[in-house]
Symmetry: C2
Subunit: 359 residues, 2 copies
């Protein structure tokens, strides 16, 4: 077996090669003995700021390299009572908006020497709670959530966790801590006003059925509110398929919309993905976009910028949400470390309507 062979090879000393022993078999004690110092000195030598003589440090580091010593984070966590983990939950990893956010977050946390425990709630409140319960056992130093809708069990867990909490992508009414997001309702309203300004009067909305996708339902609420305010019908709503919203829902939704309201002259989709699906279906059916029907989406996905004609959409800085969420978490941790009081803050991320060629 490969691994066993590896272990044997590691145990032998090889001429001229720095030869790594099995990770886990070599502890700080081992290194200490080989260097003729105490474990504490090894520990200090591995920190950059601790007071160790130059000579000792070099000797220790050389041995660390030779034996391939890898520190045991578990022991460090246990001793320092700091896990070095940040828990982060998104509804779906398979959505470039959220994975951009994750990416932005991970850059900031990486720089702070923190590792992310990443979880995918699959748009389910109970799965969110299960994930949080599992993650809390690892004692994360902070937690970043998507949205402001959580189960009562989740809220209770988070209250007793007593760690900084950041909610993203939404502006919750009763935030659990910091917030980095935008009003999806306003975004929904903005796109309706955009279509109205371009002469559309019979506008429909296509969303998903999931009740946990509060961002989707708020966009829908914004659609209705703006339609009423503009004096145009706001009841032309089709809900197709469950979250996560995908391109395949577009054709189905378009069919339902045209069947019920054949005179529809614009369709707002809850996501660029379904908007693109609807656009492609229009092309398939020979429906002229935007002449006969205008189409708009949300999210400024890459497909919106690349497809032909380009999708009109609502853009926001997804990676920026992640970065700012991480910054909020780090600020909260910093304040705690200094034993300072810090009131949770809300960072509003701007959004803007990007006029494409479909509306």
């Amino acid at each position: 077996m490969a691994s066993r062979a590896g272990r044997n090879k590691a145990a032998m000393s090889q001429p001229g090669g720095s030869d790594a022993s099995q990770i886990g078999a070599v502890t700080m004690q081992t290194v200490a003995r080989m260097a003729g110092v105490s474990a504490m000195t090894v520990s200090r030598a591995l920190k950059s700021d601790a007071s160790v003589s130059q000579e000792t440090r070099e000797r220790v580091l050389e041995i660390v390299r030779q034996v391939g010593y890898v520190p045991d984070a578990t022991a460090r966590v246990f001793a320092t009572r700091r896990s070095g983990f940040i828990a982060a939950l998104v509804p779906s990893l398979n959505n470039s908006n959220f994975s951009d956010t994750v990416h932005g977050m991970s850059e900031a946390f990486d720089a702070a020497g923190l590792q992310m425990l990443l979880g995918d709630t699959e748009y389910s409140l109970s799965r969110e709670e299960d994930l949080i319960r599992a993650f809390l056992q690892r004692r994360p130093e902070a937690i970043v959530l998507t949205g402001g809708a959580h189960s009562e069990g989740t809220r209770k867990l988070l209250r007793s966790a007593d760690i900084p909490i950041v909610e993203t992508w939404d502006l919750p009414k009763e935030p659990l801590g910091d917030v980095v997001g935008f009003s999806n309702e306003e975004a929904g309203a903005a796109i309706v006003r955009h279509l109205h300004a371009r002469g559309r009067r019979r506008i429909g909305f296509v969303g998903g059925k999931s009740s946990f996708d509060t961002r989707g339902s708020q966009r829908r609420a914004g659609f209705k509110k703006a339609a009423r305010a503009l004096g145009i019908p706001g009841d032309r709503v089709v809900l197709a398929g469950h979250s996560p919203v995908s391109m395949t829902q577009g054709p189905e939704a378009l069919a339902a919309m045209l069947a019920r309201w054949p005179d529809v002259d614009a369709i707002v989709c809850v996501s660029d993905l379904s908007a693109f699906g609807a656009l492609a279906e229009c092309q398939r059916r020979g429906i002229a976009v935007p002449e006969r029907i205008a189409i708009a989406g949300f999210g400024d996905f890459e497909v919106a910028r690349c497809c032909h004609p380009r999708l009109t959409t609502v853009a926001f800085d997804c990676a920026g949400i992640g970065r700012k969420a991480a910054e909020a978490a780090l600020a909260a941790l910093e304040a705690r470390a200094r034993n300072e009081i810090r009131a949770p803050a809300t960072v509003r991320i701007p959004f803007r309507v990007v006029a494409g060629e479909t509306a």
Copy 2:
């Protein structure tokens, strides 16, 4: 401050409410004292199989609920010498092929009670090494990698880690352990043969520049090999942009291809994303697809199935790769637990050309 208020509230007992104390403040000892038993009994009560009387177990679990006790995984890891972690690395999380694989993996590992430490190498060998170095400090029980190209430092680290290793998405020449993948070279050849069978003779290839994206370069190698075998030119290659390959590279690549080889009658793109970008650019320029130029991609992304006309592509079961990779890792762990010998295996994932409307 919310958290401080939470802490105070937690310290007070509330009438009629099960009131969670601060996580971390309550240990197994606390629960044990309240239940009038030893910590060991609490530990046993929390396991389903250990021998504790029904009555004691219920009493302990009731107190656990009341005080909101959350076990400390760090201490458990320390005591049991099992981290419960699996390290998993993908080149990019923002790619639905890989996030499907992650999803498939996480289902299998979840079921086994293992948590994933997820890392994004950003198509960089040195970042892969850094991530592995960081992850190994957490003592993962196994590690799943993407591809077979790794730095020498990575190989050394993995050798001494002495844990099961699974490489995915490729068929490495010198595997580090189990393999779950397919031959990207054969996939590249297959799509060329498909185009040839449909009468195309002047086929170009569009790829990315990254050298770490071995899947991309193997598809290219397959393209060349098949072209030679069929007696058609295999030198019509355009490399545009760095990995990750994206839709935006399509237009640029198409332009370069047409400038250099104006008579090209088919384009194979290294990914559906750039293929879609090229398709949209053709539509913009009024180039008939597939009449004037055929287009094919790889990956069977959702956009390939939804766009109009539908993309011809090469499909493989991405989630299945993840599931099977997890199964391989679990099998290896199982064998180790039983102290059995188990030779690493290679699982070949089938792929197939999906004829769309673009070729």
